[in-house]
């Protein structure tokens, strides 16, 4: 599929950044500062003479890493809380639900900014903040899944065997909720990469010493860059758009394969139209 191809290309080029780029991303070369794209420097150079192509490659490494780690952690929080709330119910359930509502009331970027004020900047802080502010969707998915699963016969059988709650939750119920979790994981990666770009563009994300796609875009804070050095922000942004589109495609594809219930409602789809749907992509982003 298209999505996997895109992701494969981006990830391998990020891994093999040293071999592909040919330049050190932090090497400042005063002789070739602010050059437009040429065969020497595929994507041009910035005001300090650093090669943009290699910075985009290395930036991809960090951006993807942040997106994947944050998404994993956020999903972990959401899954654990969702499993507990869904299986045990009661006061704990109400508490977690209220908590998730509380977090969901704020627009994500504003919430992230509030946390940045209290925790400060830095790669690990960004990841932690993203995880704290992005667990709610997974939590709700897992919780509702658990609510319906816990009434199933096999769970009753487990209880009759006298298995502990922990064992029932993690060994028997969790594997059955894996597919929505995987879909949420994929889609969150896309959301976090865009969020990182926005945060770093504002100068409030990852420190400038670590190249990320967002930090590269932060160069466009200066009007002169927007006006004259278009290659400084067009290429990193293109990288983001391509990668995120790819991730979204995969997310949609996975949803269609893993979770037949969530397919577009009301459409009597043939195999061909389902495939088409998959390729074009039909994801809702709750904004």
């Amino acid at each position: 599929m298209v999505g996997f191809l895109i992701i494969f290309l981006v990830v391998t080029s990020a891994i093999f950044a040293e071999q592909i780029s040919g330049y050190d991303p932090n090497l400042m070369d005063g002789m070739s500062a602010s050059m437009s794209p040429s065969t020497d420097h595929l994507m041009g150079t910035d005001q300090l003479g650093r090669d943009i192509f290699s910075r985009v490659l290395y930036g991809g490494r960090n951006s993807v890493l942040i997106g994947v780690t944050a998404s994993f952690l956020g999903n972990l929080i959401g899954t654990v809380l969702g499993a507990i709330a869904g299986y045990l119910g009661g006061k704990l359930d109400t508490l977690f639900i209220r908590l998730s509502e509380l977090f969901m009331t704020f627009p994500q970027l504003v919430l992230v900014l509030i946390f940045v004020t209290f925790l400060g900047q830095g790669v690990s802080n960004v990841i932690i903040i993203f995880a704290i502010t992005g667990w709610m969707t997974t939590f709700r998915l897992v919780r509702s899944e658990f609510l319906s699963l816990r009434e199933e016969a096999f769970v009753e059988a487990d209880r009759a065997f006298g298995f502990s709650k922990k064992r029932i939750i993690f060994r028997h119920l969790l594997p059955n909720t894996m597919s929505p979790i995987v879909v949420a994981f994929t889609i969150n990666i896309a959301i976090y990469i865009i969020a990182e770009a926005g945060l770093s563009y504002l100068g409030l994300g990852v420190p400038v010493t670590t190249p990320t796609w967002g930090n590269l875009l932060a160069a466009a804070q200066a009007p002169v860059v927007v006006e004259q050095y278009w290659w400084l922000w067009v290429f990193p942004a293109t990288a983001i758009i391509v990668f995120v589109t790819g991730v979204n495609f995969i997310g949609d594809g996975l949803r269609d394969v893993l979770d037949p219930r969530q397919r577009t409602r009301g459409s009597k789809s043939t195999f061909k139209s389902a495939l088409k749907e998959k390729l074009i992509g039909t994801r809702e982003r709750n904004s």
Binding site: F106, I240, R285
Partner: protein, 310 residues
Amino acid sequence: MIPMAFSISAIIFFASRLSPIDPLNSLISPDAAADPTNLAILKERLGFNDPIIVQYFNWLMEMFKGNFGYSIQSGQPISEILALRMPATLELVLAALIISTTLALLIGLIAGANRGGLTDKTSRALAAVGISVPDFFIGLALLNVLAYRLSWFPTGQRISPGQETFLDRLPHLVLPVATLSIAMLAVLIRYTRNSVLDTINRDFVKTARSKGLPEWKVMWSHVFRNSLGPVMVLIAFRLPLLVGGAVLVEAVFQWPGIGDTIVEAVTVSDYPVIMVVSLLIAVAILFASFLVDIAKSILDPRVRLGATTE
């Protein structure tokens, strides 16, 4: 809604107490702070020695009276800052909301009505890409092409020196509003389309058609009206933007709105400002969800406020 507002205000208040910055430092000159008795007097007078619960309710009372506190950075009253910034944000977000909603409903209806048609295909492809584009990138692209290369529009900010009337400001408004509208469009179009598709296959639409109603009337008074519900919810949840501002778009265009205020405040850890703004946003969101409930009951008579059935 009311208990939620109180718990959010409590969380914001106690979080600010945990913050490492001591607000006293910005209130007292270093010379005076050298003498601990001065600090103690100030603390007593400002109520820092009261139990924290009492402090919280005092703070809440002041908020209700309209005293939002002072910015650490500039010493300005926060209510003054808000009064200065709020009109800019309102102008920007309101215009974008109106434009994007009108366009999205129109395109979504056409796309949904002619499933698989040209409008449908184009809008879906655009929506798929649109979701993956960071909104500030749209702003940067528009700036580069329309403002710098073609110089059709000013490159940012709200007012040029010497131009005061609304007509003078209008050109400044075009690009930010366009950016924000485009950013909002993708999701909204897709949502409208799916909602229209949902309704179009219902039985009552078939009934309307078999009665021999003209197609536009079926579309307008049966399909469109009934598919508005879920779309309304999405729109209502964007209303808080009116208070919170569009952080990234405002940053790109140096638009002096609330979003810009938030970024400034976070950059210098001006947490009284952040507290007040986030509290306002929270209240706005709670109010919006209240509006959603009302709008739902108007659109759909089956939903009754306060009904116990779910």
